[in-house]
Symmetry: C2
Subunit: 332 residues, 2 copies
């Protein structure tokens, strides 16, 4: 069906190598040859088969984009940024949905079958075992939104979740709340653990402030709502640091339904600053995570690894900051 190199070579009356060379940059071809080949290629509607060439070059320009967050709106932004960024660099994202996958080996096998040049793990909840399994299989890996560690085993690009937890705690303290709480995402996610650790570390410095915590089942609206309804039924705190924005919005919905006011009765601070947090009917006070920068940096790091596979692992951490909207009362 498709036009091949051979046909172009025949039409142009040159060797197959010559055609191949005109389409690989950096190769030696005379202007005259190039013109002849390009003419024939144009007439035939030829475009080179990237997969066939990958067999000899060992490069497919395919990047596995692996995630398990298909119910958190921030990931639509993340996918948008990744796909555009990769495309701009001539790379192609193979999207892999790991929602129901528990065994890293399956994913490794699948990605190896497609000879991806690298894997971007875009998730804050996927067990670190996945990123490591890819690395162990010899595939360049960048774990975006992964856990920062002083001894990173794979490249990590993201934020310092511990520091964010601390910032959230400080924001609540600065506003004079005396009973605060952490309402986290799933307890087994490293992001949840780290945010909680930071939150706690700040709270122990303020024994006068009552602090408690609990966890929602997922980073989702429903989970946030359900957990907040439960908390309201018990003895709610004055203000909550919610694990992320979508959880916060679920919590806001629960508070509203319970005829309580935000921020008067209950204050909320989220994390991510996804587009929706800016929506005027939500107006969530939250911690801004610079996702655009994280994605750009992840892609740059991936490109660097493609050229230098044994690069020493690094962690790229981007600072976050509180963005003030309407769900936390002003400082006294």
């Amino acid at each position: 069906m498709a036009v091949t190199l051979k046909e172009v070579a025949e039409r142009a009356g040159v060797s197959r190598s010559a055609v191949s060379r005109t389409f690989t940059d950096g190769a030696s071809v005379s202007d005259k040859m190039r013109r002849k080949v390009e003419k024939a290629a144009r007439e035939l509607g030829y475009s080179p088969n990237a997969l066939a060439s990958s067999l000899t070059t060992g490069r497919t320009k395919l990047i596995g984009l692996v995630s398990n967050n298909f119910h958190n709106p921030i990931f639509l932004e993340v996918f948008d940024l990744f796909t555009r960024g990769l495309q701009e660099r001539g790379l192609r994202p193979l999207l892999v949905n790991l929602t129901d996958e528990t065994d890293p080996e399956n994913s490794v096998r699948m990605l190896r079958q497609y000879s991806v040049d690298g894997v971007v793990v875009a998730s804050s909840t996927l067990p670190p075992g996945f990123a490591k399994a890819f690395r162990d299989a010899g595939v360049p890996v960048v774990h975006s939104f992964g856990r920062y560690s002083s001894a990173p085993q794979v490249h990590v690009v993201g934020i310092d979740n511990v520091e964010c937890g601390r910032m959230a705690a400080q924001a609540l303290i600065a506003r004079g709340y005396t009973h605060v709480a952490f309402m986290g995402g799933p307890e087994d996610a490293t992001s949840t653990q780290d945010r909680f650790a930071g939150f706690k570390s700040e709270m122990v410095k303020h024994p006068d402030i009552q602090a408690s915590h609990s966890f929602a089942e997922a980073y989702s609206f429903e989970a946030g709502r359900k957990e907040m309804l439960r908390l309201i039924d018990a003895n709610p705190a004055q203000a909550y640091f919610c694990g992320d924005d979508v959880l916060s919005i679920g919590a806001l919905s629960a508070i509203e339904d319970s005829k309580l006011r935000v921020p008067e009765d209950i204050g909320i601070i989220g994390l991510n600053d996804m587009e929706m947090a800016r929506w005027e009917n939500i107006g969530l006070t939250t911690i801004h995570q610079p996702i655009r920068q994280i994605v750009t940096s992840s892609i740059e790091l991936m490109v660097a690894m493609l050229n230098e596979p044994d690069r020493y692992p690094e962690a790229r951490i981007f600072p976050c900051s509180v963005v003030e909207r309407g769900t936390l009362r002003p400082a006294p």
Copy 2:
């Protein structure tokens, strides 16, 4: 780096064909041979190179998943369903972001370079020229959420947008509104045109009801909000059929900010019934689009086309229905 067929063959002491046959189902291999090969493969950690095999079989199992809707939360659900559905059938989605692309030829070239077996266009706003360009290039195409036409040129799976416009109009009429309006998405999207056509066709039957219309710039929160603020400033209708849910939510935000009440002052009915419409702090009355069924059917159709490329084009249309929540006043 990776283990190849040849190494497995050597270790097992058999021919390369034998190894190949054990890994292609339907091929003739004795039990004894199979055991020998599988043992060697296991020991070496071999998994076949899908891309190399695609060279001779002509099948890559790669499906281009093409979209330009990365700012409409419903598409996160769509991507989730597509990736999982394709994966279950052993197909791999190559995600293509066409947000900034205007020339179908570029996309055709790119997808041909990667020898995708088929293309799913998942968009209600992408110009139909894209789907046609893929088809003309000889690639099986399914246009999900595309325009229904009595003479479809490519396979279409979706809803009857004209009928939906009619349903929305009927819903507004049934509630006794006397001044209603259509607030559409971008005017050049076929979905907008069709929804508007259906809305109008119903309205001409009711000359006593005042009907007007306008268009937002995109199917996005910001666009919906902006357009509704403009309308409120002019002479707003009693109720609006908004082009889709995200537009509706933008409109709701504008109404709220203007200290008007929903549904008392202004009623809203959307279209899609995305997860967010169900969120209790939104509670949008809307028209349910069965996206799960649409995606499943799109995938089934794609699989069918892979086996029978010259299949006669068909349109698969799924019925929609109004789901009652809180943004339209009850019928009198």
